[in-house]
Symmetry: C2
Subunit: 131 residues, 2 copies
């Protein structure tokens, strides 16, 4: 796990646990949480799970760098990233991005940008486990 | 509370309880949750709480109508809305919008649109309780 006051990054084996309790210090007026959940089909064909491969420590380092970049660009208060590696069954959560900010607009813009850049730059791959 | 298979709307007295467990049927690949939290100042002046007034049943009806509208427009799977009325202290959650969809982009677009339209159209007002 990488942690600063404002940034947390964690890679977890298997499905992510439930979301941790939100910081409640009254600094953030908006929390936006994105959860990526394994869908039951991939390209129309049924799957039972996705299997994620993360190239460490590069994946953690790049997630932390990306978190820092969007924190600064959008003036956010908190950016927390969790990603699975290994096998995650249908219906379970494999990715969670939690953004805390003073107001809403910057949190939503930052979330979209983070996920686009993560998919492009961070060395985490997935493959279907067919049902 | 208003409930259909796809839409839930609930007005709660005081702070919202923790988020309910997410539906995990593998239909939604993306869950985006927005939480509005009471910040510790309002226009630079310290507050201890916000007090919300909701004009019922119009507020619930309009939230349900808005939820249905964005569900259809953006092709979403689930829209769940919770809003407080009465007093909510600093650091507590007074509004939660949970959107489940097949993919991410439509969930983020829908979230922004929902909150903009809610602030404009739904008869819920807030006033600061000064510290």
């Amino acid at each position: 796990m990488r942690t600063t006051d404002a940034i947390k990054v964690r890679i977890t084996d298997g499905p992510l646990p439930d979301a941790p309790a939100r910081n409640a210090d009254g600094e953030c007026g908006a929390w936006v949480v994105f959860e990526g959940v394994v869908r039951r089909d991939e390209g129309g064909r049924a799957i039972s799970a996705l299997r994620y491969t993360a190239y460490e420590p590069m994946a953690t380092n790049q997630l932390a760098e990306l978190a820092g970049s969007i924190l600064n660009t959008h003036g956010l208060v908190r950016v927390e990233v969790e990603h699975s590696r290994g096998q995650v069954p249908v219906g379970a959560c494999s990715f969670r991005l939690s953004i805390g900010s003073a107001h809403r607009k910057e949190a939503l813009a930052a979330m979209d940008e983070f996920i686009d850049r993560m998919k492009q730059d961070v060395p985490i791959w997935k493959e279907p486990v067919w049902a």
